[in-house]
Structure formats: structure tokens, C-alpha cells
Point group: C3
Chain length 356, copies 3
């Protein structure tokens, strides 16, 4: 593995992924061998929007490696609120720390940070855009719970349209052999075109399904997510449909004995609590796999030979990204960076597309 | 000592208490021997309501043992506010950590947490119900400052009716030989019946007294607490009476030369500041004893052979606790658990009683 | 170096400063030699007002020395908000920790804390009064970037009237040989009389200048600070003048090739972002030097032979300080302490003067 910062899971080759999964397995087996691995190293967790779960997972991972933590989770309390720009914060903090973990509500913010950081940056969520370590967690969980990342029939249930987590998992798993996808949602919240394009391009079988009940019997994996109340057309639709996407003991009866239930957590009520005692429920274990996945990732990143110091970055095009959620809309000094894709420009920060 | 979680001080036998006190003494004498005792271990401090003092005392204790800390003190910033239930939080965090310290405003919350936790839980205050490590701190302080936990005349001054700390201390000390209690308060804020029942059952001498002045001369220990302004019938009563329960140099003149003054802190104005320079004032030392007491407790708990993994818990009765402050009133999935006591049911979470 | 607490940079002799700078240099060269220097030691960072930058710099310094951190940065969440006085907090926390770093908006608060603390106290900013480690950072930066603290022509640009940082730097540098000062500001925001008095007394050359443009050519060092919008007489003046005190590439053309640009950060817009790529820009390095400076300071303070335990402090005079921002105005139990200076009394907390 030779990457400096991890912004997008697509940076990791299947070989990289295999290495991380193997290392996570070694750590699980002999955690004591890694107790002082990061002795003397510092991780900065910069959470511009609070996310206790993700932050604690990273912090625990670093602490279990013998490292130390600085950071903030309450930007109202920080210099940030005094108007400091992202670049300055990153320049200073990357002088203090050996690795930065950042969450920020603007899309592309982690990529922007990586342009100025002296040390590796891990994207812990940049708005609705990317959250690579959640998907890494899911893959490590599947790998240990199912023994493989291929030849799986994977059901994804909930808000398929807006779910960042779901999109990312589909994208990564579609690269492996013989995976099938069953996308379970209301017609309004089904997969967006670009996800269908990816699935079609990869040659993976997939189908769109209306109810959990009709799909559950054939699944090797059921990945549950929440449908937010406000995504439904109206309160009436919500009341009528919500039960259809709630996993309970009743629906579980039809599932295979070795199906595994995953959920990124926190759950609200999309899985009833009595399901927790079913041996197929793996969402709490998933959180623990996430810790080991992050430990392995931290080790791999600190070992990565890429130690380049960032130099001045120049704009690649004269265009400017139109996405109001893109980090370039708020941090005005950022260079305009695009990849060309046919007659479109793709923003390097937020992946939004612009007609030339 | 063989307990997995510490919810209620009554779980500790006198033998357990003796062990903890001895260990605290050893740590005080040779703190450097314990600098790496918890190397590689993680404590999670989950403070659903803020309490800087208690949280810092636990954190310091763990850090002085070479352990590490994760946690939160600002639940508005955490997933909790996104509606995650206690069980899920505990299931995940107990996969990250080796010991959990929890404060929560609902009664019985620490017990509820212990039902689902993979690691030991220490109750750092569950509403007005229990706060065992405060009483542990008081007992360790008495033990080192007076050399004994028996044959003491203990004055308790302030709000005897509502003071969780005061009740717990009386309960524990009443088990030892020849202790006498002098309860100093207004008639409205005197000891509740259940405390008198405990004292009567234990055979301890006790008396109720109206003024600090008339009681102070005979005391070996004076435990001061605050009377909150709002506990008085009206502003006039407050103004008239407040001075009677304030310890100052004048009142201290009548006290024995070896009386010890304790206070759980923070104080407001129930002890005047010039008393701090009196050699009998031990409330700041008490805070330091509290750190050593917690260090000893953490060691004992991590050494405890009880490493059982929680299994499914079933309701013991069909009844449901009526106490609106009980954790079962807000976390609906919790099983209904009661002990029978004559024709009453006693809630296992909050100790509230229910007629069958 | 033999001081217990660092409240004011003037406590440090030139010899002390030399020692700190040398030690900072050694740490920079071989950080790994210091990784466990503070093993088993605890720093408490008590931030009564938030300052993420300063707090992280101290925390990083302590962590890089192998120490541990307790503290708060959110006094709304702490016992403080329940009305605990500073003395009690300090008495308790200094029983938990080996060194205290404190920021508080009242002037003289760090000095007040040092009267009651069992362990060393470092002033991390007491209102608009003192912030010694910022100036220490500036001096360490100059020392490494210019190779000397004397024979420098130092430009200071921005709000010279109110800038705590600027005053402190002038005071300290004026003690060294052959330094010249160029004070660049609007007439309204120029140096106060007491700064001119210090410069005159020291025999240093200095001049007051209206524009950055006319001064920049002769400078060895340019220390930029922000002029707050609200300091200008009116919005019109602000709009007219603000550009005059903004450093940009255009103005930089006239500067010497080896001039160094410093800024205490966070910047707002007083230095344009394209200046960051100029090799003379040293403000990000300055933040890193600040970390090393604090590491050296912590070591020196923990090695200091002064380990005195505070005893009762009595008022020196019957007068009382009139400064409403002085810590004595809010913590009423503090003794009245003054130095005599002619027919004036100088408050030992806040340095305010009182006619006898």
C-alpha cells in the first residue's frame, strides 16, 4: 500500500484491501503484539461536525496501538469559529501530529485538507460524499463473517437513493466476482442511475425489490439502514410503509441460517431489539471489526512510503465547481481542480460534474 | 473481591472494603509501582450528564495507572442525541474498552448498562439514586484520617433528607461497631424514615439535632453538605436559618482537636474559606483520597475473576416500575426485574417499591 | 531556572531564556530522546475560556514528552458553572496533576491560582493581561530563524495599542542589544505611553509609522497582527485603511530576502494566502516552534527545584484593586496584594495601578 492520504476507498486496490484485512485479523488474534506499535505517535481527530461513534472508533484504534490523541469535536469551542480557514488549521495541526482524521460537512473537505497537510489525512466523512472507513469496516466484517468478498448475494435495505454507505459498499463489492445485489426500498428511494450504471458496467446481477419479506430468503448478507421519516412523501406513506422495512423476528424466520445482518449504526427502529439475540445479528460485532479495521489502516498508512511534503497546487481549469456543498464554495483560496471526462469536468473535491 | 460491575456500594463486603483501603494505602506510599499497571487498557467515561469533578477523578485514576481514556461528557454532541438507546451504546463501547464508568440522570441506568456490557461497569452516579465511589472516597478518607471505621461519632450536617451521599455513608458505616450518628438539619430536611429504620436495625445510637453549634463538640468527624436554597420553605426561612448550618472559625472553636471535616465538594458557602487553613479541614485531601480509592477500585475490578459475558435477560415479573425517574421509564426494551420483599416488589434498577 | 509557576515572561532571566531555547533546539533535533521524558506525569489544562490553538499546543507538547492530559475546555459543562471558586478547583486539581496550564478571562487569575496550587502553574492567557508562552514562542522562532535576539530591526504591524502579544514581545526584546522597532499602525491604534516609556528607558531606537509599505524595506522581522474591525472609528475608516495593513505579494516585493514574517495566528485576512508560498513566511513554522518551546518549558519547570507548598497568604495592604477585570473583583476571598511604586500601589494580580 502506497498512499499518503485516504480520501476515497477507490484508492485502495484489491491487493491493498487484502493486506488490510489480513493485518486486521492478526491484530484481532494477538492484540498485545500491537500495544506499543504507535508509541510516541499522535493522531489529531478534527471533527468539524460531531460524530461520537466514528470519533471514538478512531480514538480507540489509535490508543490500542499505543498512540496518543489530540483534536476537537466541538467547533463552536475552537478557533475555527473565529474564522480560521481550513488550510491554516491543517498546516498547524499537521505540524503537531503524525496522522489526521477529519470529518467535515462540506464535500471534498478531506481532499482539500490533504493538499496542505504535512502528514497523512484519513477522511472520516465529508458531508454526504464519502466515508471510506465505514465501507472498510463493512468489508472487514464480511470478510471475517462470511470468509469471502465474492459470490455473495447481498441485500441492501432502506434508503438506497441517498445512502452514502450503501453506494460505497455496492461500488466496492461490484468489483469482486459473482456478487449479486438485491436493493430493497420504496420506488422513490431506490438506487440512483449512477449506481445502476456501475452495476451494469461491472456485470453484476442485481434487482430492485419492494419488500424485505420477498427478498430475505435468498440473502447471504442483509445490510440494513435507516429510512429517515422525512424522506417519505408524507406522514401517511410513512405510517403505511415503515413496517415493510423493519427487520423483526417474524421476517427473520425466512432467512438462511448463515445469513449475516449488518447495520452501520446507530439504529433507530429499523431492527427490532429482540433480533439482537439472534446469532445472525452481527451489527455490534461490526462496530468491533471497525476498530480493528482502523487499527490496520493506521498502521498501513504510517508505514506507507509516500512521505511527500505538499507543494503549491495550481488550478487545472478556469472553471469553478457549482456544487454549493463543495468545500470550494466556502474556502475560496482553494485551486479549481477538475478531471476531464468526455465533455464534462469532474470536480476533484466533490466529484460533481460540470458541462464545459 | 469478585464482582463484575459496581453499581451499589452494598455489593462490597467489609472484607472487600478492607482490601480496597489497603491497596489505596499501598498506592499512596509507592505510586510509581503502579504507573504502568493498566498499560494497554482503556477506560470509557460515559457522562450523560456532565460532572467534571467525578469524571476528572476517574480519568486521573486511570491515567495514573498507565491506562487510556475514551468517552464523552457532552451528550448533545454524541450519537445519544440522535436517539441511540443505552443498550446499543453500551454494546458498542464495551467492545472498545476494558472498563466503563457511567453517569446518567436516570435511576438504575448503571444497572441497566451492566446487563449488556461485555466489560465491568462502575456507577458514577445514577440520578439521585446511588453514587458508590463518593462513599468509597469518604470511607477511605476516614480510614486514613481517623485510623478506623468504627467507634466514631459522626456528625452529618445539611440536607439529610435528600442527600444521596449522606444516606449512603450512614448505611455503610452503620454496619461497623460502635458508630454514633448526629444528624444536624432543619426539621423539614431531617433523615427520612428508611434511614432511621436502617439505624434502628443496626443498633447504632443516633440523634437528630437542630444546630451545628450544639453538636460540634462531641464529634470525631463532621461531614458537611450543602442545603440548597430551594429546599427551604421560603426565602425568609432560608435567610434566617442558613447561618446555622455554615461551618466557620467561630463554631469550630468548640470542636475536638482531632475532629476531621469532610465535604464531598463542590462547596458553595456552607464552609467559610478561612476554615481551609485549619488543620482539621480535610475536604481537599478527601478529593485526593478519592483518586487513590478509584485507582484501587479499578485494579480490583480488572483483577476480578468474574468475566461473564451477558446473556439474554428475561423479565422476572409482569409488573412494571412506576418511578418516572427509573431508567425503565425511558428505555422500553429493558426487562422488568424485581426482588420480592413481603407483599412488595422492589425494582432491581431503582429500588423503588411496588405493591403487588 | 528556578521558578515554580510561570505567570509573566519577566520572571525568566536572559540566562533562563537561553537555556529554554537551547533545550528546544535539542528536542527539535532528537525528538525521540524525549518521548518518555514525562512518563507517568499528568498535565491539567484548565481552559475557562476556549482556545483550541493554545490548548492543543500545550497538549501536544505534553503528549510528545510521554505525559498525559486531564482538563476541560468547556466551563459550561464543569463544576465551575455550579459556582465553585477558583481556589477550590485549583486545590483539588493540583492534587491530581503534576503541572497546571490555565487560561481564564480575568486578569491575574493565573497568579491567583499559583497562590493555592500544589504544583506549577503556567499562565496560558489571563484576559488581556499576559500570555507568556506566546512571546516565548515568538522568541524561540526568532532565535532559530534569525540566529539571534539582538541587532534586529523588528516591524510590528496592526493594533499596537491593544495587542497583548505585541507589548510583551517589545518588552522582552527591548532588553537585548541594538534592537530597533518600527511600529506600524493607524494613529489611533499606536503604541500606548507605557510601551514608549519602556522603549525610551531601554535606549532602543524606535519609530511610529503609518503604512506597511514605507516600513517593510528595512525590516529583519515583520510581526503581523490583526486589526479588529471594531477598533476603527467607523466603517468608512475601516474600508479606507484596512488594505494599508494587509501584507500581500505586492508589498512583499520591497522586503529583504531574509526578512521573516511572523504572526501569532489565527489570521483572518491581514496576510493574503498567496504569501504562504513565499519562503519568508514563517508563521506556520512559528506554531511548530511553539510546540517545541512549550516542551522545553515543561521540562524546565518540572525540573525546577522550587517545590514549595503554598501556605496562608495575608493581604499586604488595606487597599483593594479597582480594575473590574481583575480576578480579585470576582474571587472575593483573595488577599489584597500590592507592590509599592512611588505613591502608587501596583496590584500583584493584574498590574493595575492605584493612588495611595
Amino acid at each position: 500500500m502506497n498512499i499518503k492520504s485516504l480520501i476515497d476507498l477507490n484508492q485502495l486496490s484489491q491487493e491493498d484491501m487484502k493486506e488490510i484485512i489480513e493485518l486486521a485479523g492478526k491484530i484481532m488474534k494477538n492484540p498485545h503484539n500491537y500495544t506499543d506499535y504507535c508509541h510516541g505517535k499522535i493522531m489529531a481527530t478534527l471533527f468539524y461536525e460531531p460524530s461520537t461513534r466514528t470519533q471514538m472508533s478512531f480514538q480507540t484504534a489509535m490508543l490500542r496501538l499505543g498512540g496518543k490523541i489530540i483534536g476537537f469535536d466541538n467547533p463552536q469551542n475552537s478557533s475555527v469559529s473565529k474564522g480560521e480557514n481550513l488550510k491554516d488549521t491543517i498546516r498547524v495541526i499537521s505540524g503537531y501530529s503524525d496522522i489526521i482524521v477529519m470529518r467535515n460537512s462540506f464535500e471534498g473537505s478531506a481532499y482539500a485538507a490533504s493538499l496542505y497537510s504535512r502528514c497523512p489525512v484519513i477522511n472520516a466523512g465529508d458531508g454526504g460524499h464519502l466515508h471510506p472507513t465505514q465501507t472498510l469496516t463493512d468489508l472487514v466484517t464480511l470478510s471475517f463473517e462470511k470468509g469471502r468478498l465474492s459470490s455473495l448475494t447481498v441485500g441492501l435495505c432502506g434508503d438506497i437513493k441517498n445512502g452514502r454507505t450503501v453506494h460505497s459498499l455496492i461500488k466496492y463489492l461490484s468489483q469482486f466476482k459473482d456478487n449479486k445485489f438485491v436493493l430493497i426500498s420504496t420506488p422513490e428511494l431506490q438506487a440512483p442511475q449512477y449506481i445502476k450504471d456501475i452495476l451494469n458496467a461491472s456485470g453484476c446481477e442485481y434487482k430492485l425489490v419492494d419488500t424485505l419479506d420477498e427478498a430475505i430468503g435468498e440473502l447471504d448478507v442483509l445490510y440494513m439502514t435507516r429510512i429517515q421519516r422525512e424522506r417519505f412523501a408524507n406522514a401517511e406513506d410513512y405510517e403505511k410503509q415503515k413496517g415493510i422495512y423493519v427487520l423483526d423476528r417474524e421476517k427473520l424466520r425466512k432467512a438462511k441460517a448463515d445469513m449475516k445482518i449488518l447495520h452501520p449504526l446507530p439504529r433507530v427502529d429499523e431492527i427490532t431489539i429482540d433480533v439482537d439475540d439472534d446469532s445472525r445479528a452481527k451489527y455490534f460485532e461490526q462496530a468491533e471489526y471497525g476498530m480493528y479495521a482502523r487499527m490496520a489502516l493506521i498502521i498501513k498508512m504510517l508505514e506507507s512510503p509516500d512521505r511527500s511534503v505538499p507543494s503549491k497546487v495550481e488550478s487545472t481549469h478556469k472553471a469553478h465547481c457549482n456544487n454549493p456543498k463543495c468545500i470550494t464554495s466556502t474556502e475560496k483560496y482553494l485551486p479549481d481542480l477538475f478531471k476531464e471526462s468526455g465533455d464534462m469536468l469532474v470536480c476533484k473535491y466533490c466529484d460533481d460534474r460540470l458541462l464545459v
